[in-house]
Each structure stands twice: as structure tokens, then as C-alpha cells.
């Protein structure tokens, strides 16, 4: 089936004229029509625009010299502004927002020939770890426990992108990662998710959550596909002053590179108490596979790991409270009806337009930035953040890459969602520290647990060394031979 191909295979097939971009796109739009009602991976499918673009892609391919992603159908997280296409951030407050401009990352993908199948679901404003906070409904993970059809969460916040890629409703998708929002859903859905170094991809036109942490990245079914997509997304952008003015390497060339002599760090602090035996076992499996590939395994320490989450839950809400101040019902978005004063309009608009979790984070952020508390919370968190970054800097003097679990559990059932927000935040315990330090990280599937659910491992690299992540990731991918697919996917009979 065309929907089973990887991006690399499809790009090859299109050039050999084995099939057309229209056929490839139609296979995906048909699958979306069949499955999206159940999975809710897309908020806004764009079948007509996709088919128009596919026709143009076929014309470009006929002429030859078409860029790498020509005719490749992708999903776009509904946090990237797309010119003329509704962009909601999964929030009621942006339910009617049609951007008159294109984000830099999506513009680069379009320039590279990509076809957009639609805008994928997410946690509201990317705040969540289970895709349960979207104003447009929950996303169902295409995987299910053996003998238990109950819906599982896909992880978050890029849960719609992860579910779409896992269920073959897109060949790849864009995600964004603030504290783990690419890597954790990738692990829950058994796919590859790469969060690049902070500054690798432009943030311009991506709806902001926490500007010192937000970073766009690819979500795909193979490491090579992630390398191909990242190459198209990355690069300097004068419109984002934090985007790095560095050349973009040929990431694909890093696939299959020899791992001999590479030093792989195993951080002691990630052996958190209460981690399941199965996660520990898959971590050990990863260590053994890399040793087998000629890597040197080195024990390292990241002593401030246990403070990562608490630091994150000061910094991220503080930045969110500032970034989300713009949603006031004046210039764009949904305005609440019936207010008689300006203040009442603001308060009603922001009460009715934001969901509970977003309101909670804005309030935490407002509190930690308010007069009298700034030093005790925000300034303190910034200092701890320096220590967290130092941990990584020191570790990378001894090793080339770190290997850890991506998440403390496999995907859980919707009805197993913790009631306490703090318990929910613990999902990101292994992904947040790298985000705080701006390091690149990648999650890839290694095996299945005893209930048949995918488990992922995370690689963390030096700043701007995504190539080592891709090299090690492709080695692990080959050794793990992960070929399992979810029961709900395009063309499956389930």
C-alpha cells in the first residue's frame, strides 16, 4: 500500500514514476476520511488543497529537478500558521483564526515540495502531555493494549501529529516541543520524533507557548525520514532573532555512519525510582545494542535532573502568561459576547476562550512574575536552569551522546489520567531537562511492552549536533528492527 511507504521510499517511487503524487496523496486523504472520525488526529483535513498541490507536484516531477519533498504528503501541527488555512492551536479562542501569512517552517516545507494533508490536533496551545486538553476533542492513540479496546492517549502535545504518522494518515508531520511535546508522543505512538537544538528551526509564525523553549521538529516513521524532513525545516531566519546563523548539514548522510568509538553516556539520575521494569529492560536493550555497535558506554551524572520539572513549571508558565496576553478579543480570535466594559470583555473572552489547563498555566505564570514573588520563583528558576545546562555541558565533555528512556510509562488509558496536575506533569520528567538546556533530543521506538504497546528511548546530543543523534538513531533502529504497527491504521482491517 502506498500509505505504508517511508518518505525516502516514496520520494524514490515518485521519481521512478511507479506512482504519481496524486495517487500517493489520494491514498492518504482516503485513509484520513476513513479513520479520522475515530482517531481525531486532524482538526482540519485539507483534501482539496492537497490534491491541487499533488497535481502541481506531478508536473514538477515530470520536468525533473524537483526538490526532495516534492509530492510527499505531510501533516502540520495546528500550531504552525498556514496562510489562508484556519489555525486554532486547539483553542476555542482561535477557533476562527485564519492567518494571512505562512510560518517559516511550513513555508520551507512547501518550498521543498511538500503537500499538506491538514492541520493536526494537539493539546490546547501545546500545553499537555496526553492530548486531552484540545478544544476540538481528544485524539485516540492508534495502538491498543492486547485484549483491551479502551482508547489510549497518544501523548502530547503533538499527539495528533504522532497518531497521524503512526496510523499512516501522513508520511510525516511537524511537531513542536517545549518540554517533550515531540518526543513523548513519538514514544507513545511508536514513531520517531526529533526535537532539534534550540535555534535550529525558526519559530516565526509558530504560535508561541514558551519562547525560550519552543522548537519545531519532524515526526516520522524512520530516522532517515526525520533527517530528510529536518533538512527541509532547519535554517537561519532573520525573522527569528534566536534562530542560529549556521549552515544546515546533510542530515541524511549521517544515517548509517559507523558508531565505533562513540562514547554514549548513561545518566544515573534517570534511573528514577518507580520506573517500570519494562522501561528499564528496554533501556538496557538499547545500551547492549550500542555496545555491540562498537560504542563505549560511560556512566555519567546530571545531578540537577530532579529539579528540571519544577524549574520548567516556573519558566514555561511565566513565558506562557506573557505570550498569551495577546489573546484579548481585540485584534483577532473569538471575542465573548455581551460585555459592557473593556475589562469585562477581556475577562469574559479569556475565561470562555481558554480551557482549564491553559488558564491554570497563565495564572501560575502571572503569580511567579508578580511583584514580590519574581525573585523567589522566576529568578531562582533561571539560576537553577543555569545549573541544569552546566550538567549537560560537563557530561558532554566526557561523552558524545546520552541515552535515556523517553517517558516513564507506555501510553495510558484516558480514564487512567491523573486528577492531580502535578502527577500529569511527571510524564515529561525525562524530556524536560534537555529542553531547559536547549539540547537536541530524539525519541525512537525500540520494542513493545508485555501489553503490546511501543516503548521509546531518547538520545540527547550536543548543541547543533543533530547528526550524531541521527547516526546513533539509525544504528539503534537497525539493531532494534522495530516493525510493529498499530492495529488502527490505513488499510488495516481492525
Amino acid at each position: 500500500m502506498l500509505t505504508d511507504l517511508t518518505i525516502a521510499q516514496a520520494a524514490d517511487g515518485l521519481r521512478k514514476k511507479d506512482f504519481s503524487a496524486v495517487e500517493l496523496t489520494l491514498a492518504h486523504t482516503t485513509a484520513i476520511e476513513a479513520l479520522n472520525g475515530r482517531l481525531n488526529a486532524y482538526i482540519t483535513p485539507m483534501p482539496d488543497k492537497a490534491l491541487d498541490a499533488a497535481t502541481k507536484a506531478d508536473a514538477a516531477l515530470a520536468v525533473g529537478e524537483a526538490p526532495v519533498l516534492t509530492g510527499i504528503p505531510l501533516g502540520v501541527k495546528d500550531l504552525f500558521c498556514t496562510d489562508g488555512v484556519k489555525t486554532t492551536a486547539a483553542s476555542k479562542i482561535l477557533a476562527n483564526f485564519i492567518p494571512p501569512y505562512e510560518s517559516t517552517v511550513t513555508a520551507k516545507l512547501l518550498k521543498n515540495g511538500a503537500i499538506f494533508l491538514g492541520k493536526t490536533n494537539l493539546d490546547e496551545f501545546a500545553m499537555g502531555s496526553a492530548n486531552l486538553t484540545s478544544a476540538f476533542g481528544e485524539v485516540e492513540n492508534p495502538w491498543h493494549r492486547a485484549n483491551d479496546p479502551s482508547p489510549l492517549v497518544p501523548g502530547g502535545s503533538s499527539g495528533g501529529s504522532a497518531a497521524a504518522v503512526a496510523a499512516h494518515l501522513a508520511m510525516g508531520a511537524t511537531g513542536t516541543d517545549t518540554g517533550g511535546s515531540i518526543r513523548q508522543p513519538a514514544a507513545y505512538c511508536g514513531i520517531v520524533g526529533l526535537k532539534p537544538t534550540y535555534g535550529r528551526c525558526s519559530r516565526w509564525g509558530t504560535i508561541a507557548f514558551a519562547s525560550s523553549l519552543d522548537q519545531a521538529g519532524p515526526m516520522t516513521r524512520t530516522v532517515e525520514d526525520a533527517a530528510i524532513m529536518l533538512g527541509a525545516m532547519a535554517g537561519h531566519d532573520p525573522k527569528d532573532s534566536t534562530s542560529a546563523n549556521l549552515p544546515v548539514p546533510d542530515y541524511r548522510a549521517a544515517c548509517g555512519r559507523s558508531l565505533k568509538g562513540l562514547r554514549v553516556g548513561i545518566p544515573a539520575e534517570y534511573r528514577a525510582s518507580g520506573m517500570s521494569e519494562e522501561i528499564l529492560a528496554v533501556w538496557q536493550k538499547g545500551i547492549d545494542m550500542l555496545r555491540e555497535a562498537g560504542c563505549e558506554i560511560v556512566d555519567v551524572s546530571l545531578p540537577h535532573t530532579k529539579y528540571g520539572l519544577a524549574t520548567y513549571y516556573i519558566i514555561a508558565p511565566a513565558e506562557c502568561s506573557s505570550n498569551l496576553a495577546r489573546y484579548d478579543g481585540v485584534r483577532f480570535g473569538v471575542r465573548a459576547e455581551g460585555a459592557t466594559s473593556l475589562d469585562e470583555m477581556y475577562e469574559k473572552t479569556r475565561h470562555d476562550g481558554f480551557g482549564e489547563e491553559v488558564r491554570r498555566r497563565i495564572l501560575v505564570g502571572t503569580y511567579v512574575l508578580s511583584a514580590g514573588y519574581y525573585d523567589a520563583y522566576y529568578l531562582k528558576a533561571q539560576k537553577v536552569r543555569t545549573l541544569i545546562r552546566r550538567d549537560f555541558t560537563e557530561a558532554f565533555e566526557k561523552v558524545d551522546v546520552l541515552l535515556t528512556p523517553t517517558a516513564p510509562t507506555a501510553a495510558f488509558r484516558r480514564d487512567e489520567k491523573p486528577v492531580d496536575p502535578v502527577q500529569m506533569y511527571l510524564n515529561d520528567v525525562f524530556t524536560v531537562p534537555a529542553s531547559m538546556a536547549g539540547q537536541p533530543g530524539m525519541s525512537l521506538p525500540i520494542g513493545l511492552d508485555s501489553q503490546g504497546l511501543p516503548l521509546g528511548l531518547q538520545l540527547i546530543g550536543r548543541h547543533f549536533d543533530e547528526e550524531t543523534l541521527i547516526a546513533v538513531g539509525s544504528g539503534l533502529e537497525k539493531a532494534a528492527g522495530f516493525t510493529a504497527r498499530p492495529d488502527l491504521r490505513a488499510g488495516a482491517d481492525a
Binding site: 519544577a310 479569556r350 495564572l363 539560576k383 496536575p421
Partner: protein, 96 residues
Amino acid sequence: MSLDPATTRRIAKLARIGLDDQEIEAVRTQLGGILGWIEILDEVNVEGVPPMVGTAVNTALAPRVDAVTDGNCQDKVLSNAPDREGPFFTVPKVVE
């Protein structure tokens, strides 16, 4: 760590999020829980540690020519206005 209702109301007011009494109480409890959990940072000695400001590895901002790079797009700017009169955004009356 527990917040009192007056502080919670003040924070909601600063954030311009209208909350009724029941919501204030729920938020008060949850924020108290989150802020209590954050207190773990009291264990960390940050004496002499500079705050990390920004994440970019190359922190120097590049200067650019002081020239207009965008503009003349009034229609685009106004295209999502919830309410407008001609080229103006409109809001409820502020001055009687």
C-alpha cells in the same frame, strides 16, 4: 504552600481571566499544590550562579539595517478583527 482567596483573585485580575467564586476556590487549591511542589527548588544552592537568560547558544544578536522590512498590509492586519469600523479595531466604550 497555600494561597488565600484575595491573592488568588488578584492574580486572576492581573491575568484578566474572569473567575467566579467556585472557580477561584478550585484554582486556589491547584495553584497551592503546584507552588508547594515547586518549593523543592529551595534545596538548591544558587549562590553566585548567574541566571540563564535566553536559550540560544550564540547569544549575540546580529544588528541589521534600520529599514522598513514589512508593511502596507492594512487589510491583512484587520482581516481577523472580531469587530471593526473602517480601518479601526473597535472595543466596548471606555469613556462615557
